[in-house]
């Protein structure tokens, strides 16, 4: 059973956050996945800077993203004037109502280009839903759950890719995707994925907290 996808508009620009870049790298199938997705995928410039900082601590996510950019799977986008205003509002203010630069830039670019912001965490989703109710948002799992990705990879490779993202990158899974993820990777594998909510790992189908 495929979950309701927020990526049903093939024309929409997908703006990936740092988290999505990390999760796709960990999946080991980023090229096949991005080739299968009909949408154009972009990242804000600052995402590369963030990943470069991780490189000093031994992460190779920045190199991988650069390869995807060089090979045309992902494009880098600069924030324009409209996006800059949103970016400013998202990074300046009280901690509870702001985000770090990469997360804010992702949302600002998505607003500016009427795209879909791919973000994986609750605070960013909460801020989007209250401040930008018209903005379309998704997450990394939406990419994995895209029908074209299933068609291109087949169920076995898709399951293995999602499992890698869960195990290697400890990918976050939003509550409405939990059942699909467990079914895909199998309950036995899911039990070893610490980034899944405990209730999900223990085999419950009812999750309360992401």
């Amino acid at each position: 059973m495929q979950p309701q996808s927020s990526l049903s508009d093939p024309e929409a620009l997908l703006v990936a956050d740092t988290s999505t870049a990390i999760n796709l790298h960990a999946s080991g199938s980023s090229r096949e996945i991005l080739r299968a997705i009909p949408n154009r995928v972009v990242v804000a410039e600052i995402i590369l800077v963030e990943l470069e900082a991780g490189k000093r601590r031994g992460c190779r996510d920045a190199d991988h993203l650069k390869e995807l950019i060089n090979d045309g799977f992902v494009a880098v986008i600069t924030i324009g004037d409209v996006g800059a205003q949103h970016f400013e509002e998202l990074v300046i203010g009280p901690a509870t109502e702001t985000l770090d630069d990469g997360e804010a830039a992702t949302i600002a670019v998505a607003i500016e280009h009427h795209g879909i912001a791919l973000i994986d965490e609750r605070k960013a989703h909460r801020i989007c839903s209250t401040r930008y109710p018209d903005l379309r948002t998704g997450c990394t799992v939406d990419i994995f759950a895209h029908p074209e990705v299933l068609w291109a990879l087949g169920e076995q490779q898709l399951a293995s890719s999602v499992l890698s993202a869960l195990m290697e990158a400890r990918m976050h899974v939003l509550p409405h995707h939990a059942d699909w993820v467990v079914k895909l990777v199998g309950a036995d594998n899911a039990a070893h994925c610490n980034s899944l909510p405990k209730a999900v790992r223990q085999g419950s189908t009812h999750t309360t907290v992401c």
Binding site: V49, R57, A95, D100, E103, A169, A199
Partner: protein
Amino acid sequence: MSALDSIPPADVGERLRIARDNADITQKDAADRINIARTTLVAIEQGQRRIRIDELQELAKLYGTSVNALLRREAVHVDLAPRFRKLPDAVDAAADKAVDIMSRLARAEVELENLLGIKRVHNDPPERPILRGDVRAQAEHNALELRERLGLGNAPIGDIVTLLELEMGVRVYVRRLDSRISGLFAYDDELGPCILLNANHPRERRTQSAAHECGHFVSTRRLPEVLHTDDMSHSREERYADAFGRAFLTPPRAVMQKFQEITAGADRLTRRHVIVLAHVFGVSREAMVRRLEELGLVKKGTWDWFQANGSITDQHSRQVLGDLSTPDAQKADADRPTTLRLNLLAAEAYRRELFSEGQLARLLAIDRIELREIMDGLEMEGSEADAAPVFPE
């Protein structure tokens, strides 16, 4: 009014100046990065010219931070690194790195505490500036005065890190540092007293470094300090801190009493005596013997005699103490990307959606996957689902 315009330009300028100083970047280099004259950057830092958001982004990148970390309302901005750089004995790269670790941990802890509404207990002992005259006598007196204030009497100090944290409100961090660095001390109005100790050193040595830094806290708290292992400084401040540390950990009366108990009936000092005494007071075997020499309980040169005659080894110590040797928990904690307490604060801030993953990763200076490992390890998402016991009202 834009979000940036809502912050007084002087505040923006001051935060930028501190960030630039911490990153050790000149005004000229910063100005060149955003294609403005150095005098314009000076005007921005002095609050006489507003900065644009695109300029801010560029400077944040250059300073290794983010606009959010610079201008988040609750962000803590302190300039510890420049203060250390002004030390007369020019801080080296290893010390610079240690200063960065301590600043980062303390800033993150304070911001998270403030956001979570945690009030830290301030219990600074009275400052005792070093006066003219015998430095050692002053240090001994002040150390015993502090012991009395803390209600320690003559009891050995089992865990100086916890004592400093709980009884004196010091932020103590134990992290793996270059082996040449023993400890760091700094005092800041916003952070309070902070001490960083080297996890690569044996526990007893760390204890002595902590007591030494405590001496600086009592005598010269406004001066930051780096304690090097090969410190040959004979300044009054260093001699004071050394003597303070010895008196604080091994007070004369207590040492004399324990010495009498442990050597009862013996006519010479054995390795076993030294090992047991050092264990009781939690100091190194060398520090123990030298203290016995200082107090006239053994002849001068006793430690040198042991050294020349097979020394007193860790193996000897294990044979004597057996199960009494306990694992070094602080060393294990130092292998984590951040401290256990910071992890708990960060997890709570994340659970309450006060901070995003990106904000926390930057605040703790770790990558996203390390942060996720910490969060997963704390099983934060399970606490509600498991109906964990709630605190009483």
